[in-house]
Every structure is written in C-alpha cells, then in structure tokens.
C-alpha cells in the first residue's frame, strides 16, 4: 500500500526552530470537524501539532492541548455533554488542574466541552435567533495575560470567524460578576452580539489563566488568502487568530516574545 498523506492531513511546514520543539496536542472526537485546521494553525505558528484520539488512555508527550470545534457525537445531547466523558478528557482535566497547569484551549465545541468538564464555568445554549450563524466577528481581547493571549495587547480588537448554532454563553449573575472581577472575561464581542451571550462574552479563562475557551475560531484566521479579509473582505485581516498559537508556543519555550 502507498503511504501518501490524506488530503487535509498534516503537512510539513518549515517550523520555526525556536518553537518547533513545543508540542501541541489536538484532540479528535467522533464528530470533531476543525481538528486539521487547529493542527495547521499550530504548524503555521511554528510549533509541532500532535494528533490525540479521544479514546486514548494517556495524554502522552504534549506541552498544551487544543480541543477543536465540531459537533462531537452530533451534539444530539447537550453540546459537549458526551465528549466530556472521554478517557482522554479526565487526563486533560487532571493536567489542567495540576501544578504544571497544562495550557488548554477550547474552541467552539471545545469550549462547550470545557464547560461540561467544569474546567470553565457557565454553559452555552442555542443562539438567541435560533439559527446557525457564520460571520466574521470583531472581538476585544480583554485579558492578555492568559497562556493563549500573551501575544495580544489588552484592549486590542481582532476579527476572526464565528460559526455555530449553540453559542449563547450563559451563567448566573454571581458567576458573571466573579468572572468580571477576576479578569477572566478574556474576549468580548464588539459591535454586534451574534448570539445573545451574557455581557457580550465570547471567551473566558479559568482562575489560573491556563484554560481558555471561546466560541469564535482563531484557527480560521491564521493564513493569508483563507481568512476573513479574503473571504468576506469587510475589514479585519486574514491572520488575527495567529496570536493564540504563538502565545502558547512562546510561553512553552519560555523565550522572548
């Protein structure tokens, strides 16, 4: 048999030598869709992407983990509710809560899985307009001290794609107040709240700042010619999302930004 790469599978990109040693795991569940995209983003940022399978018993040798978007188990139950019980998830939860504070990023369905796993508070319900919505979304980076936002400035506005059906972030008032007070609202929708999320919240972090979840998709704004600017052309750039990945890679190698 021939061992040629499957279309969309990992391709070799000349990684930045300084960052290439940093290994970012990308988890695939049945129904995950944006796993190749997240892996591509890691590579374009200079790091090494490692495929992780939901059924694996061990996390293996990775320095950070991305739980990508999609519809794990079809989202037929509450989004993320089944994926949260995957064998690998308990390892990720342990590692995120350990002293080593493994950086974890949940994107879209990944964010939903993180709230279901109680790594992040609150939950996502159906968009207030009840439709799937795909659009380029302006976000304000409210906290640039998390593992995934170090390369942004606080207050910086970025444009990255948003695409989901269950994106309305909700939590009780006490939780929302606490998130605000502790600076754990990491991203806020600017100009237009696309789904009715409380307090325009697009993404949050845990107390330590190593676990971040958001509904929009930074991995779809990492490559010239394939991002919001090229596809829709109404402001923004194609690569506003790259900072997520360079942030964590730089943090892992511990070098200068």
């Amino acid at each position: 048999m021939t061992e040629l790469p499957l279309i969309g599978e990992a391709i070799a990109v000349a990684a930045e030598p300084r960052l290439a040693g940093a290994r970012i795991g990308v988890v695939t569940f049945p129904g995950t869709l944006d796993d190749r995209d997240a892996a591509r983003a890691v590579r374009l940022a200079g790091g090494t992407a490692v495929e992780l399978w939901h059924g694996d018993a061990e996390l293996g040798d990775v320095d950070a983990v991305i739980i990508p978007g999609g519809f794990s188990y079809g989202d037929y139950l509450r989004a993320g509710a089944i994926a949260r019980f995957a064998p690998l998830m308990s390892k990720i939860i342990d590692a995120a809560n350990s002293d080593a504070k493994l950086p974890v990023l949940g994107i879209c369905n990944g964010f939903q899985i993180l709230t279901e796993s109680h790594l992040l508070p609150g939950s996502m319900i159906k968009n207030d307009h009840l439709k799937f919505l795909c659009r380029d979304q302006v976000l304000r980076v409210e906290n640039s001290n998390t593992a995934w936002t170090l390369d942004y400035e606080a207050g910086q506005e970025i444009t990255i794609p948003l695409k989901n059906q269950d994106g309305q972030y909700i939590a009780d008032e006490k939780t929302l107040d606490a998130l605000e007070a502790e600076g754990r609202v990491v991203f806020r929708y600017v100009g237009f709240n696309p789904n009715g999320s409380r307090r325009d919240i697009a993404g949050i972090s845990n107390a330590a700042g190593n676990v971040v979840g958001l509904m929009p998709h930074p991995e779809h704004a990492v490559e010239p010619g394939f991002g919001p600017e090229s596809l829709d052309g109404i402001g923004g750039s194609d690569t506003d999302g790259l900072g997520f990945f360079t942030s964590v890679l730089n943090k892992i190698v511990g070098g200068d930004k």
């Binding site: 869709l33 995209d37 188990y73 079809g74 991995e219 596809l231 052309g233 109404i234």
Partner: protein
C-alpha cells in the same frame, strides 16, 4: 432475532415462485408497467418472487434506470473528442466522474437532485440530499472537500415558500455544517413555476490521489461483502407497503415515511472511517447506499464485477425488526455503505470499524456464478443475473414534439411590449431601477442563506459566495486548487431549450474562468417535468442536445450527473431547468480573482458587446414578462473571454473580475462595488455609441460573453494589448473610487453604497425573518 423474525413472514422463495406461476403480484402498485412486468417474467423464465419484484421495481424506476432519458443522454458520451478525454480518469456511469488535476491529484464531483422529498419534508429532504451526494463522492475513494446547493423555490411572497425555504436551508446547513464541509456557493431563484415543485439540487466535490480511486465493483471469488454504517430502517419505502402481504404481523407500523431521515453525525464518522479504509487499502470495491438501497448496491456491485454475489439478508442489522425482505431490499435508510473485502483484510477492516464505533455486518461473498443470489435463512428469495436489475432496465423512446405554443412565446419580445411601457430613462428613474433590480427576489444578496452555512471549515476555502465561483485549495504546498460554479436559467430554457441549456453551461464556464480557473469538466442535474408529455420530452431532448453540442465546442466533457423528471404540479411542468456545474483548475489558488474591486484609481473595463437582450431577463421578469428569444449564444466568444480572464489572472493583469449574467451590467457594477464596499465612477457612452443601445439596455441587457474587470494602472497597456491581439471587444468604462462611498454612473443619479447594501441585503430578512 432472525429466527423469531422469520416466523412472521410468509417467505416467497424462488422455489415457491416456480411452483406458483399464477400468484397475483402487486407490480402496478410498485410502479411497473405491464410490459415491464412481462419483461421481468421473460428475463427470469418464471414469475419474480416478492423480493425480486421489489428489486426490479426500484431499479427499473425512472429515478434509477433513466429509462426516458437514456437514449438522449448517450450524446454526452458520444460527443467527446480524444482531447476532451485526456484528463478524464473515470467517466459517466460510476458514482461520480474523476478528473486528473496533475501532480498525482484527482478530483471528483457530481450534482444531484432531491426535489420532491424537499417539498414533502424540506429539512430532511434537503439534508439527505447533501448526505447522498457526499456518499457518492466518498465511494470514489475521495475525501469530500466542499458542497454547493442550487435552490429554486416558489414565489417569494407565497405563504408556502417560507416553509420550504426555511426547512431546506436549515436542512442543508444542519447536515453540511455537521460534516465539516464548507458550503462554497450555489444559486437561489424564486419563481411561481416551482411553487409545488421546488428544486433542491446538491453538489459535492472531493479530492484524492490517483492511486486511491475506488470503483463500485465486486470481484474476486471468496471476497467478503459487508454492509456498514447506520442500521436499516423503514425510511423511504412507502412504495414497498404493497408487499405487506409478506407479513403476518399486524403490529408493525402501518405507515412508513416516504422521506428518509438523515443523521449527519453518522455520516461524518462514515467519511473518516472510509478514508481510513482507503488509506489502508482495505476495500476492493465500494458502493454507497442511496436510492433503492441494498437492491441497488448488491446488483451494481455484482454486475460491475467479474462474477456473482451471494448474500444472506437476515444478516442485515435492522433498526426495525418487523421489516420484510422486500422492505429491507428497498429501504433508503441513510448513512450506509457496502464494500467488498478480501479475507486477509477482514480483521483490519473490523479494527477500523471498531475504532470509529461503526456497526457492520458481513452479508456474504463474491462468487463466480454470474448470479446475484439473496437468501433468507438459507432459502433463496432472489436469483437473478445482476445486470438485468442494474443495467438492462427498460429504455423508452418517448415521443416528443416542439410545443405548439413555442412560436407564439418566442414572437412575444419584451421591447415594445405592454410590460415595457414606461421604460426607465431619466437619471432618477434609472437609479430607482438599479436599486429595484438589486433588491429583487432573484438578484438580492443571498447572505441570509449563506450565513447559515460554514464556509471556513477545512481551512482551504479560498473563495465562496458571493464571488462568481467557489474555490478550494487541494494541495497545501503547491496551492493547487479547484473552482466550481453552478448555473441554470429556467426562463431562458423555457424560451429555447437548446440554447437555454447552452447558456447555463456558458455561464458556469464563464464563472469558473472569471475566478481565474481553467474549466475542465461538467456535471449536470436535468430538472424537467413529465417525460410522458411530448412538450416536456422535447424540452429535455433539446436541452441535452444543446448541452452536449456546447460541451464539444468548449472542449469540456460531462463526467456525471442526474436527471430529475416529473417535476410538475398537475399538468403544469416547471420551467425546464438544466443546472450545469463546471469544475476548473487553478495552479495556485493565491491567484484566484475575486469579484470586487478595492484599489482606488484602478481602471474598470467591460469585456464583450451588448445587444438588446432583454427577453427572459431579470428586468422583464420583474415586470411580469416572459417571451421572446433568450440571449444569443456565442461559445467561441465565451472561450475567448475565458482565455483573457484566465491569462489576466495568471499574469497579474487583473485584480477583480465579475461575469455579467442575470441582471446584466447594472447587477455586476453594484455587486463588484458592494463586495469590498468600494465605489466607482462609470461612464457608458462608449458602449451606447459602439453597440447602438440605450443607457437602460446597456445596464439591464443580459447579453452573454461579458465581464467587468478591474485592471491596475500599471497593467492597462499590457491588458488592452492582449484584448486587442485576441480581437476581443474591450472598453474602459470607469475607475475605482475608494473615497466616494458611491456608485456613480453617468446619466444615472448617484447611488450611495450604504443605500444599495440596505436594498440588496434587506430582501430575504424581510420575507424570512
């Protein structure tokens, strides 16, 4: 389970059939004609069993056998030159055609209809339309990489249109988004002719390495036959209920859904699972289960192979244990595949199934008998030559004749008609006309629809709606990619089916070239009324003749497609609607040309010439007129224009390009301005003088073979030299004006882009919320 189940059935075995030749069979209820039933008896040398009757009835249906169109469709295979075959790796007849992209890459694409299910149950009908076409692509060994959906609904303000529209769009989104396939384009047309017969067509495209191409055949005696994916249930077998005499069980559900229900999660898992099978070379042949389910899969695999096949039907995993053998054979349950696996690969195959938690059951094996034998608990219930089921169905030479009304329709031209009274002329009324055009149901922004589809997933979408073509990268290192466009104009085809079909091809070809891609292959979905109506049959025959002739001239072959007939309400057929998809190739998608201009001061050129082509136009449609002759077809001009657009893109001479089609120059200028929110100053006096048309006609005529392009100042000389050398009409009509925020056309009141956008984007939300 099986022992228990079988007790409930009065199994009609082959042995029994031979002994009871006079048993009455419900062949008419299953849609067979007397001559067709007689033919089955002749082929078998005895009456068919209930299970055989079920198989023949679905496989010999119009949908599966193409019995009314086959004689005409042959032209697609005949009107092909050696040059056109050069890049065709797999032609018509397989699940989808395959075209060589170079560098070891191949691309497969196909368009199909799911019209009537989408009227009955719009969400599931449209969703399973996507599911079915995607499985066709997987069956070829390819990874699906994008989908498109041409849609035609009834009048925008009809109370039932919202039901169909909401359901179909949500179904396409709900299914396609869950598969991780970007939706990169399509069409949306509102016309009352589609009120009781919406057209929901779906296109999928996939890519693979040459060595991964798979075909649907069962070869190699002793190889195992496996069914995997979803379990078999009672969906889509409404017709099989007449075989209920097989059952003694009065507790079984009496009503079966006629429309299949989709499970996109199961399909997504099936995609990944199949790709892993292909990667490991674990299957010898593979076939998806769509229309006619197991009947189709077993008979096609067996007849395309070198021997026969033996299958035990009680091994099929069921969702509903009360299904009769006939129902199991006819069930159209979604998300199922059938494959042929060598004994050595059985273990590895099972490991892949287990990894993805996909259910499977081994049904039987490939034999060398030349027969398809299906048993029920060991008793033979089907014993047929598979070719007679899959390929030797009836073929009809349906009578056809040019309709009596055709001449009077063609004589009724728009210019000078009652509806043409008060044709806009002054600056204010022309400005109002442009705004009215871009807000009209067919010309308004489709973003209300496309924003419900994921265009980003996969990370390889280089262009999507509203650009002229969708562009997807295939090779991440070289940038090699494909461009796709689908087009049809039912009004043009109604006025003149031969040329109307050619115009659909010309537009799709032009759209692909506008994106900068070299057109390579065609797939078509022929949506027509009843073939038993000689008027409709003539439309179909003419459309196929026109399309196949035009493919010869443009040098691109048809590699597959689908025919959908009986699209009519009572005796009123839809407009003949041949939807044509063209696939093109880009060496590097970074060179693709978007439809809007951006850079201040760039020159805007109109390529091609303008005539009084208002018959069948959007403007005439808005005024309630349909008559006359559609725009003139000049395929050589289309080819020349295509070469200019492709070379212009390759050599960096153009920064934007937008083809002129429905809505003419007015629509193109507004769309190119709104694409990036950048205005322009336009003067059309040279066009008016050169082509002898009034300003209204210059703006609203739908003459073919035209495009507007944005040319950087530094490239103007080179660009105009190229057009001159090729003898192609080109006129500088204006300049990009980034500061103004307006579209200014001499002789037309200034149009603010904000107002245009509001008009353009407001229409669908107004009607559909």
């Amino acid at each position: 389970m099986t022992t228990e189940t079988t007790k409930k059935f009065n199994i009609d075995t082959v042995e029994n059939a031979a002994k009871t030749p006079d048993t009455e069979l419900p062949w008419a209820e299953l849609g067979l004609k007397q001559n067709e039933f007689d033919e089955i008896v002749k082929v078998l040398g005895r009456r068919p069993t209930g299970a055989e009757l079920a198989m023949y009835s679905v496989m010999w249906s119009e949908h599966c056998s193409y019995k009314s169109s086959k004689n005409h469709l042959r032209q697609f295979g005949q009107k092909v030159t050696e040059e056109m075959k050069k890049d065709m790796l797999v032609g018509i007849g397989e699940n989808a055609g395959v075209t060589n992209l170079g560098d070891g890459w191949a691309v497969t694409f196909k368009i199909e209809s799911h019209n009537s299910p989408s009227f009955v149950e719009p969400y599931q009908g449209a969703a399973t339309g996507i599911g079915g076409i995607v499985r066709d692509i997987i069956s070829m060994g390819a990874r699906p990489v994008a989908v498109m959906d041409p849609l035609r609904f009834g009048a925008i303000d009809h109370p039932d249109t919202a039901r169909v529209m909401h359901g179909a769009v949500a179904g396409i989104g709900g299914y396609g988004n869950s598969l991780g396939l970007p939706n990169i384009g399509g069409e949306m047309v509102f016309d009352s002719v589609y009120q009781g017969n919406p057209l929901v067509n779906a296109l999928a495209v996939g890519v693979m390495r040459h060595e991964d191409i798979r075909l649907a055949n069962a070869s190699g005696k002793g190889n195992r036959v496996v069914l995997f994916g979803a379990r078999t249930g009672g969906d889509g077998i409404g017709g099989a209920s007449v075989l209920a005499s097989e059952s003694f069980d009065d507790t079984k559900p009496s009503k079966r859904p006629a429309v299949q229900v989709g499970d996109p999660f199961a399909e997504k898992v099936l995609i990944e699972c199949c790709l892993e099978l292909f990667k490991g070379s674990l299957v010898e042949g593979i076939q998806d289960l769509g229309a006619a389910g197991i009947s189709c899969a077993t008979s096609e695999l067996a007849s395309n192979g070198d021997g026969g096949m033996q299958v035990e039907l009680t091994s099929v995993l069921l969702r509903d244990p009360t299904l009769t053998p006939g129902e199991i054979l006819m069930s159209e349950s979604q998300e199922r595949m059938m494959a042929v696996v060598t004994p050595e690969n059985v273990e590895a195959f099972e490991a892949v199934m287990d990894k993805w938690a996909v259910e499977y059951s081994w049904l039987g094996e490939v034999t060398d008998t030349g027969r398809l034998i299906i048993t029920w608990e060991g008793d033979v219930i089907v014993d047929v030559d598979p070719r007679t089921v899959a390929h030797d169905g009836p073929v009809y030479d349906r009578p056809f004749a040019r309709p009596e009304w055709q001449d009077s329709v063609q004589a009724d031209t728009f210019t000078g008609s009652v509806q043409d009274a008060g044709r806009p002329a002054g600056p204010a009324s022309l400005a109002a006309a442009v705004t009215e055009l871009v807000a009209s149901p067919n010309m308004c922004s489709k973003s209300w629809i496309t924003n419900q589809y994921d265009r980003y997933v996969g990370g390889n979408t280089s262009m999507a709606f509203p650009d002229d073509a969708g562009v997807v990268r295939v090779d991440e290192e070289s940038g090699l990619g494909v461009a796709l466009a689908t087009d049809a104009n039912g009004r043009y085809t109604y006025l003149d089916p031969y040329h109307g079909a050619q115009l659909a091809l010309a537009e799709a070809y032009r759209n692909v070239a506008t994106a900068g891609a070299i057109p390579m292959a065609v797939s078509d979905c022929l949506n027509f009324g009843s073939p038993e109506d000689p008027d409709v049959m003539w439309q179909l025959a003419e459309a196929i003749r026109g399309l196949s002739d035009a493919c010869m001239v443009l040098g691109i072959p048809v590699t597959g497609g689908n025919v959908s007939l009986y699209n009519q309400t009572g005796t009123t057929p839809i407009h003949p609607s041949p939807v044509v998809a063209v696939l093109g190739k880009l060496d590097d998608v970074a060179r693709r040309t978007p439809s809007g201009w951006r850079e201040d001061g760039q020159a805007i050129y109109l390529l091609g010439t303008t005539a009084d082509d208002l018959d069948g136009s959007e403007w005439a449609n808005m005024r309630g007129h349909l008559g006359g002759q559609p725009p003139k077809v000049d395929l050589e001009a289309e080819r020349a224009l295509g070469e200019i657009l492709i070379n212009g893109s390759r050599d960096g001479m153009i920064d934007s390009a937008h083809d002129l089609s429905e809505g003419g120059l007015a629509a193109a200028l507004v769309e190119s301005s709104l694409r990036y929110g950048v205005g322009a100053r336009i003067a059309l006096q040279d066009i008016v003088d050169r082509d002898g048309v009034d300003l209204f006609t210059a703006l609203f005529s739908e003459s073919q073979g035209r495009a507007v392009v944005g040319v950087p100042r530094s490239e103007e000389v080179r660009f105009t030299d190229m057009c001159t050398a090729r003898g192609f009409a080109h006129t500088r009509i204006g300049v990009v004006d980034a500061a103004s925020g307006t579209l200014d056309i001499n002789g037309v009141e200034s149009l603010s882009l904000d107002d245009l956008r509001e008009a353009h984007e407001g229409t669908l939300p107004k009607y559909f919320g």
